[in-house]
């Protein structure tokens, strides 16, 4: 964690605002780039943006300042000095200083975002803001309005949303108590806060030394504004510029559903969902910087945010549209590595992520297949897509792949260890060589993928997710698939153990368990204990049966993306996989009886 003052070209300066307040400002980065103004929240200082700013500095001009009461800025004593119109004055004075003629791209987190909503809906400042990225800080006006509507015309949905936010806002009430918060922050709370937050947010750097004072004075922000605005909200608080909303899915302080109706107040809205807690500027700087940068670029180029791809819009209706939108929110700009991406589930997952605007590294041992998936992914709107030819069972090749991915594209946000081979036939017909090949690909491929990319994710400390393709055969024993089932049961257990280990790093792990899905795998499944002729016929028949089943890999891809978004531990996919999963828990005897049934041949 560097300081903003250590950024290239950093210049510190003060801006004098009304009522004698002096604001500590910093300007840094590329002076020729668009100006990005970063506004911090409570109880932080502008340094909360240091990690994000470091990633933006080469292309953008960065401006940040300490809000009155925080960091190195003045700390007026009067609560009234913290009212929103005072903060708007501060903002205007800073704009006058850093962008007297042009417009800025405003980014606010927490209370930085709350006050930014005031700036972007107040005429004198709104017209000087080209775009607004809001993180974990709703408009008090919007909050008041939707809360009132929830009370006036209660629906179960609105009611439960209000109740949820009521509970999450305990700290707001607490901060309204006189004196106590100040005492607490200057005492025991200020001391333990960093550790508490580090635990809850998984990764977080050391606190600013000014924390206790920032927090104590910052309480006045709440006291000066919350009660007043909740009582008398503005009805005309509409943000006309492009707005990018970033919602962390584990925000302890804000209900996600708070933003359900935000489109009413921000007509040009792009939504993003990040896997993380409240302090994503600290815990997810890579992704935050990417989203801010892309958004700023789009607005600079087109004057508006890029619309969703044509194909996506066209194909979308109802549930599919909601799913596609959810995927775009969650995966746009994220880097995903997928093995076995040349066909079947791997390819389908790559394409779903491509539609969502992810960046893709697509790995297959067959170069042409991987390249083909890259082509299709690019057509569908992948931000980037690269093919890599690697046999996942080759430890050295996997190490080289990992090193190359890191050097070229960075640490992946999502790794899908999907490459696998099928093998059918009785245990006694399965030769040691066939066992080895099965374990090499199906188990070792996953071990290598988890080990190499997992280590990267942990080291980066910005979360991530690993998906391992197991199988319904991982919990449904079968006399027809002993080697396959064994390899997949191992993958399932490995995933469960890894999930337990990685939870403390904010990295999710999912084992995906498709059932009978029509993928290329059956066409290449090795049927041991049969002649070549018979094997060919079995392959054709099985493939046909799977196709007739009509459960395509696209549905597995949907399940994978959903499981990642919800951080599901084990995700059965097809109805029979769900049934087998349930049966493995409640009636293993039934599964054992099923295990003795001959596979259709």
């Amino acid at each position: 964690m560097t300081s903003l003052y250590d950024l290239p070209g950093a210049r510190r300066f003060e801006v004098a605002s009304t009522d004698g307040v002096r604001l500590a400002c910093v300007e840094a980065g590329n002076p020729a780039g668009p100006t990005v103004l970063l506004l911090h929240g409570y109880p932080d200082t502008k340094e909360v943006w240091a990690d994000v700013a470091a990633r933006l500095a080469d292309r953008y001009r960065i401006v940040a300042y300490d809000v009155r009461g925080a960091g190195e800025s003045s700390r007026p004593d009067a609560t009234s000095a913290y009212a929103l119109h005072r903060l708007t004055d501060d903002f205007e004075h800073v704009l006058d200083a850093v962008a007297p003629d042009g417009r800025v791209h405003l980014v606010g987190h927490d209370w930085g975002s709350v006050q930014s909503w005031e700036f972007v809906t107040t005429r004198r400042t709104a017209e000087r803001v080209a775009s607004f990225t809001t993180v974990s800080g709703p408009s008090l006006d919007h909050l008041a309005l939707v809360t009132r509507e929830g009370l006036a015309r209660p629906t179960p949905k609105r009611l439960s949303r209000n109740v949820e936010q009521l509970f999450r806002s305990w700290y707001v009430y607490a901060l309204h108590m006189p004196v106590v918060p100040e005492l607490a922050w200057r005492g025991v709370l200020g001391k333990h806060w960093p550790a508490m937050m580090a635990r809850s947010e998984k990764t977080l750097g050391p606190p600013e030394p000014s924390l206790p004072e920032d927090a104590a004075f910052g309480a006045k922000l709440y006291r000066a504004n919350v009660r007043h605005r909740m009582a008398a909200p503005r009805h005309d608080a509409i943000a006309e510029m492009p707005v990018q909303l970033v919602v962390p899915d584990r925000d302890k302080f804000l209900a996600k559903r708070l933003y359900d109706e935000l489109d009413r107040f921000a007509p040009h809205l792009t939504r993003r969902q990040v896997s993380g807690g409240h302090w994503v500027p600290r815990t997810r700087p890579d992704l935050m910087a990417r989203w801010i940068g892309e958004f700023v670029d789009q607005v600079e180029q087109h004057g508006t945010a890029k619309p969703a791809t044509a194909a996506a819009t066209l194909a979308s209706k109802g549930r599919k549209a909601r799913r596609d939108e959810a995927n775009r929110r969650r995966f746009a700009g994220q880097l995903a590595v997928i093995t076995g991406a040349g066909s079947g589930i791997g390819r389908a997952t790559a394409l779903s992520l491509a539609e969502a605007g992810a960046r893709l590294v697509l790995v297959d041992r067959d170069a042409a297949s991987a390249e083909r998936t890259v082509d299709l992914a690019q057509v569908l709107g992948a931000a980037e897509a690269y093919a890599e030819t690697v046999d996942v069972s080759d430890a050295e090749a996997m190490e080289q792949l990992a090193a190359k991915v890191r050097a070229t594209h960075g640490v992946p946000d999502l790794v899908v260890n999907n490459a696998g081979i099928g093998i059918a036939g009785s245990f006694l017909d399965t030769s040691p060589e066939e066992w080895k090949r099965t374990l090499d690909v199906n188990l070792w491929g996953v071990i290598h993928g988890c080990r190499l990319f997992g280590a990267m994710m942990v080291e980066r400390g910005q979360g991530g997710h690993i998906v391992n393709t197991a199988s319904a055969a991982a919990f449904q024993p079968s006399k027809g698939l002993p080697a396959y089932s064994t390899s997949k049961a191992a993958v399932l257990m490995l995933s469960e153990c890894l999930r337990a280990e990685f939870a403390s790093h904010g990295i999710g792990v999912t084992a995906i368990c498709p059932g009978f899905v029509a993928t290329g795998i059956t066409g290449a499944t090795r049927f041991v204990g049969t002649s070549a002729e018979k094997e060919r016929s079995l392959r054709e028949k099985t493939t046909k049966a799977y196709k007739r089943r009509g459960y395509g890999p696209e549905k597995v891809a949907d399940a994978i993306l959903r499981a990642v978004a919800e951080n599901t531990a084990v995700q059965p996919v097809t109805p029979e996989a769900h049934a087998a999963y349930a049966a493995s828990r409640f009636t293993p005897r039934v599964l054992r009886a099923l295990a003795r049934v001959d596979l259709p041949k």
């Binding site: 791809t309 044509a310 194909a311 819009t313 066209l314 194909a315 076995g340 066909s343 079947g344 390819r347 394409l351 539609e355 041992r365 067959d366 042409a368 297949s369 083909r372 998936t373 082509d375 299709l376 057509v379 569908l380 490459a419 696998g420 081979i421 099928g422 993928t519 290329g520 795998i521 066409g523 290449a524 395509g552 696209e554």
Partner: protein
């Protein structure tokens, strides 16, 4: 669109060939003319009616089937379960939407059955699908020349689609056909009815089916055992249909199979061929089309088989 047909025996004469080519061109001209008139808000029913009117104005009064039009994800037959879903609906065209126009006019006793795919304004996904259809066109004629059975060729096309990452959407047609035979029809005044199919056409299907059953061939081209024979001489309306994430694309045109087993596409000047030429695309196999091209020798046959085998050996 797959349609039944009248029985047609092999060895189509030179004038007959010209007759089929004329009606096929007429049908494609119709599709291009109607496509040029499509605007946002037009419905499938309106587009189908436009085609019918355009052709009727030019002397077409008999049909193998009435024109079809599919818009948006209906081009990929998304969610199609029952045959009546093929008929035109009130679905409206919007900007960037793909569409397929399908017509089967009978003109002066000659039948055409064509499919024309495009989009209203640019559509990157559709462009990709249309580009990739070229190799299917090449594969099919080469494989027929090489004497592979219709069933094998169907599976070759299937595998190629799988490699390309596409779904086989002609599987959704009645009987899952990729092609059906087309014949010369004695001139008459019969008008289509019975769900849009000509009654003589239905009768012809039955007659052809009965004879084929006796002689060991099928007037339909699908992956069943009954198609496990080389193409019978005559004309086949072939329509490989790709589907990909809610976008579908196909062409449908006539393939001429001669008594000696040689084969060629009836016409190499159709809109999709001009489009490929404009984009510098040829199928990855020799594009063998007209009968005056090199006769299909060992080389071509081997290439087809090699491709098919490569497909079969595909790794996961």
């Amino acid at each position: 669109m797959a349609t039944p047909l009248m029985a047609a025996r092999a060895g189509v004469s030179g004038p007959d060939i010209d007759g089929f080519r004329t009606v096929q061109r007429l049908a494609y001209d119709c599709a291009e003319a109607v496509a040029a008139q499509l605007r946002p808000g037009v419905t499938e029913r309106q587009a189908a009616a436009m085609m019918r009117r355009w052709l009727a104005d030019r002397g077409v009064h008999d049909w193998l089937h009435l024109p079809f039009a599919w818009f948006g994800d209906r081009t990929a037959f998304t969610g199609f379960k029952v045959p009546h879903q093929f008929f035109p609906t009130g679905r409206r065209l919007t900007e960037g939407m793909p569409f397929i126009l399908d017509a089967a006019p009978i003109y002066q006793g000659y039948t055409a059955d064509i499919g024309y795919t495009s989009s209203l304004g640019p559509n990157r996904v559709l462009d990709h699908l249309l580009d990739d259809l070229a190799v299917h066109r090449a594969l099919i004629v080469e494989a027929v020349r090489a004497g592979r059975t219709l069933r094998q060729i169907y599976l070759d096309v299937d595998e190629l689609m799988a490699r390309q990452g596409y779904e086989n959407r002609h599987r959704a047609y009645p009987f899952g056909v990729i092609a059906h035979r087309v014949g010369k029809i004695s001139d008459g005044t019969v008008r289509p009815h019975a769900f849009g199919f000509g009654s003589r056409a239905l009768l012809g299907l039955l007659q052809d089916g009965v004879r084929g059953h006796r002689e060991g061939w099928s007037p339909l081209w699908n992956p069943r055992k009954s198609s496990d024979h080389p193409a019978t001489p005559g004309l086949w309306a072939v329509e490989p249909h790709l589907g990909f994430r809610g976008v579908g694309a196909k062409f449908e045109e006539l393939l001429v199979v001669q008594e000696d087993g040689d084969a060629y596409w009836l016409d190499d000047t159709l809109p999709h061929l001009r489009r490929w030429a404009g984009r510098g695309i040829s199928g990855s196999l020799a594009t063998g089309s007209a009968p005056d091209a090199d006769p299909p020798g060992e080389t071509a046959a081997r290439a087809v088989v090699a491709t098919a085998e490569a497909i079969a050996k595909e790794a996961v």
